[in-house]
């Protein structure tokens, strides 16, 4: 290939670049599929208010797996981790503070 002579220099720059082996990807895929099965299964059992909690917990776990491994955050710089955290945080602020208004509107009316 025409870029052969550049090969070395690329390798140099790519030092910090962690290549995740396929083995891990396969494990994650399986974990995600199991998670999907689990969440569907759990939805058929009546656990009262726990149902949504469990469903969301499983979803969160799946998300974390995807983010950490498929999206390589586990092997990324602090900056990337911080970025992901910031996004999650602002998202929670939006949802949390808005819902807190709705929730407290009924206060004193029980």
């Amino acid at each position: 290939m025409q870029h052969d002579k550049d090969f070395e220099s690329i390798e140099e720059h790519e030092h910090h670049h962690h290549v995740v082996p396929p083995r891990i990807y396969i494990t994650i895929l399986l974990a995600l599929l199991v998670g999907t099965a689990a969440t569907v299964g759990a939805s058929y059992i009546d656990l009262g208010p726990l149902n949504p909690v469990i469903a969301l917990a499983i979803a969160a776990t799946k998300m974390i797996l995807v983010v950490l491994f498929f999206m390589h955050v586990k092997y990324s710089t602090k900056l990337t981790k911080l970025t992901v955290g910031a996004g999650l945080f602002t998202f929670l602020i939006l949802v949390g503070m808005t819902l807190s208004d709705y929730w407290t509107r009924a206060w004193g009316r029980w």
Binding site: L29, L56, V95, L99
Partner: protein, 251 residues
Amino acid sequence: MSDSQVVVHGAAEGAHHEHLPYQRHHFETYAQQSDATNFAMWLFLLTEVMFFGGLFTAYLIYRNWYYPAFVEASHQLDIFWGTANTAVLITSSFTMAMGVWCAEMKKQGALVLCLVLTFILGLGFLGIKTIEYKEKIEKHHVPGFHYSVQSFVNPSSDPEVHKKNPEDKPLPYDMARHTEIYFFLYFAMTGMHALHMIIGIALLGFMIVRARAGAYTTGHVTYVENFGLYWHFVDIIWIYLFPLLYLISRH
């Protein structure tokens, strides 16, 4: 993802001597370039998170307000298709991740294969979504002026769903009309998600062509990598949509 497109164009322009051919002139090193585009992609995903954030907020509020309506309306969704779609999407995420690996390992053939598989799985997801949408359209469950609450005020008029959920009681009309909000959120969220899928698939098509020309197996993997991030993000959105819309109101 569009920022990495810049990189590709840069490659096409084939800039300076002392640089790698795909390095843009204003970067000092290639590492800086790939770092920067990667970071840009993450920031773009942040904006996406907040974009969907508005919809999730609306969903949570109305689910609390109109719980019975949300329960009954969610029974209209088919868990089978939902689960199948989740599996399809997760697998496509896997093939995409493998694609990135192939690019990194400079395996051109395998990369093309992975991309094609991702492409097909993506299409499969949309296909299944179409089946589901079609049913909603037929039942007049698309919010708007033609919306019908028939299935909720009179569940037995909808034998298919009724059979699966025989314990469903008819909703009083004033609650039943709020199913429209559920379906609006359903269409808004899955529609917005599907839109992202469509954009992703279009980009995949473009990438397949470029990959076959060997564009990504030269050590310049940024584009594939950043696209991968996008694709996984779309996957994550679905990972939440699936339980929220299909599952948590089964009981």
